[in-house]
Symmetry: C2
Subunit: 123 residues, 2 copies
């Protein structure tokens, strides 16, 4: 990850511009608009590199392929709609997770995922 290439820039752009975490395939599709002959391998190699540089976060939803979002986003969690399967960012976060762990355990981080119906599908 030393050089600035068209591919790398396009990949980072679509991830930063998206309002939701993207699958590798979605990154490929969206970045292909700018870089037509872009390959999936390049998407994966750049995602890996960008992640190691701390520019991306990986969002793992249980049983699904990893999605990627910009790392400069603030601490937040996700909501997945069971009907349309879209993933939404949640704005707030219940702190105080420490009390869930047995005493003697050190809680450094946590992940919360909600499931249900989004506004459109619950309507």
């Amino acid at each position: 990850m030393e050089r600035k290439t068209r591919q790398r820039q396009a990949i980072l752009d679509v991830i930063v511009d998206a309002q939701r975490p993207l699958l590798a395939q979605e990154v490929l599709l969206m970045a292909s608009v700018t870089v037509p002959r872009l390959s999936l391998a390049t998407v994966y190699r750049n995602i890996k590199g960008l992640y190691e540089e701390g520019l991306l976060k990986v969002v793992h939803l249980p049983g699904q392929n990893p999605r990627y979002e910009p790392a400069n986003s603030t601490h937040h969690h996700h909501f997945q709609c069971r009907q349309c399967e879209r993933v939404f960012d949640l704005e707030s976060c219940l702190g105080n997770m420490e009390q869930l762990a047995p005493s003697g355990f050190l809680v450094e981080d946590h992940e919360v995922i909600l499931y249900g119906r989004c506004g459109a599908c619950a309507g």
Copy 2:
């Protein structure tokens, strides 16, 4: 999942007896002791069937292969130690996840995963 076979019984046994969620590979290894020519395909087919019958739960830790545990356990979440990588069950659960979602969203379920150091590793 209509018949009671040696394979199915062995697979269910090792998952129920284990004190932690098991990977498919671990189930194969442990159940092979009872059923020597057991195949991975059979493990997966039975896990799927047992899951659909509500006898198993799937435990997804971000970025890792799914693990399986008995479904008769009460609602709980998990803690993974970043040092020894072991997974622990948590006993309690903060309810009130509804408030995290935007209004209009219907929250049906949630998942919480804590990361840090377990008692032994935090010592």
